[in-house]
């Protein structure tokens, strides 16, 4: 299981990705991230809510209260124009990082290290 330390800086990208298609709230976003990751990654709640705070403070998402259902008032998040730009920048950043890091991956060592 990959830890959030490895993915430092990409949790925001995951959240923004989920919000690209529609507005959502905390629990639903974490479920969606888990689903898209294919079981390889679960976002910790502290990581998730820290990211929300950061994203909102920087104007990448906007929050609003949803309708009350069963006495619960959920905070919904909506991606902003700046958020979309950040998502795109993150995608480009990852493409570059991937190219560089791949150069340091030794196929031989990778298979040796599995035992």
């Amino acid at each position: 299981m990959i830890t959030s330390d490895t993915l430092r800086g990409y949790n925001e990208m995951f959240i923004l990705f989920v919000l690209l298609s529609n507005d959502s709230y905390g629990y639903e976003i974490s479920k969606e991230i888990e689903r898209v990751a294919g079981g390889g990654y679960t976002i910790k709640e502290t990581t998730l809510y820290s990211a929300f705070t950061r994203l909102e403070a920087n104007g990448h998402v906007a929050s609003y209260y949803g309708d009350e259902t069963f006495g619960k008032r959920r905070t919904y998040y909506k991606i902003t124009k700046e958020g979309r730009a950040l998502y795109q920048a993150k995608c480009r950043e990852w493409a570059q990082a991937k190219t560089v890091i791949d150069r340091f991956v030794s196929e031989e060592e990778k298979s040796n290290g599995s035992d």
Partner: protein, 221 residues
């Protein structure tokens, strides 16, 4: 569910109670509640569900990094500046403590030297002037030191250390008594027996004892 609530309360316990933090806590609680209920619906036992929920929460470090650091930048800088000032002050305090002790030793020497001038009252006046100047220096730097300690919250730390702090004040009291006693002994020797010289040597002994007291006080801490 109560267990999850108290866990979150504890997690947020050390954080500043800003609107941002409270909002975050409420959102997170609601999130965890939903997660818990879904797990129960999936057929997990209550214990299992609580375990799964709590193990996924993450560490308070994530929160602190996001909230704490941003909130603490200003006070931390202030503290750094203060610490530097306090460090400089400590060096000055050491120097002036030495000067104060030198004044205590000088006091009787003045008496002997000025005694030869034959001016009545001058030796005693000089003697008390030296002692008063020394005491004033010690008191001034003592008060300044307390102020710094208060500002840096060192005082509180000392108090929680309890015994160490008590011993500190014990040693301070001991050295205060030492110098007063020495002065009394010197005055008695002088006025009653006329031994101004070599009576002044008692101050040398006192200085030696002071060094011993300081040494013990440091080693105890």
């Amino acid at each position: 569910m109560d267990l999850i609530k108290s866990y979150i309360e504890a997690l947020f316990g050390g954080l500043p109670k800003t609107k941002e933090v409270i909002e975050m806590k409420l959102n997170m609680l609601e999130h965890l509640e939903e997660k818990y209920e879904v797990l129960l619906q999936e057929g997990k036992s209550e214990h299992e569900a609580v375990g799964i929920v709590l193990s996924g929460v993450g560490s308070v470090e994530d929160l602190k990094e996001e909230l704490g650091i941003r909130d603490e930048i200003v006070p931390e800088q202030v503290t750094e500046g203060l610490k530097k000032e306090y460090f400089d002050f400590k060096r000055k305090q050491g120097l002036f403590t030495a000067i104060a002790i030198a004044l205590f030793i000088l006091a009787p020497v003045m008496v002997i030297l000025l005694d030869q001038t034959g001016v009545r009252g001058l030796p005693i006046a000089a003697f008390f002037l030296c002692i008063a100047a020394g005491v004033a220096l010690l008191i001034y730097f003592g008060i300044q030191d307390d102020k710094f300690k208060d500002a840096l919250n060192l005082g509180k730390e000392h108090q929680t250390k309890g015994e160490a702090w008590k011993k500190d004040t014990k040693y301070e009291a001991a050295s205060g008594v030492l110098w007063i006693l020495t002065t009394i002994v010197f005055l008695l020797l002088g006025f009653l027996f006329g031994y101004w010289h070599p009576g002044w040597i008692v101050f040398m002994f006192a200085a030696a004892i002071q060094v011993l007291i300081d040494y013990r006080a440091k080693n105890r801490n």
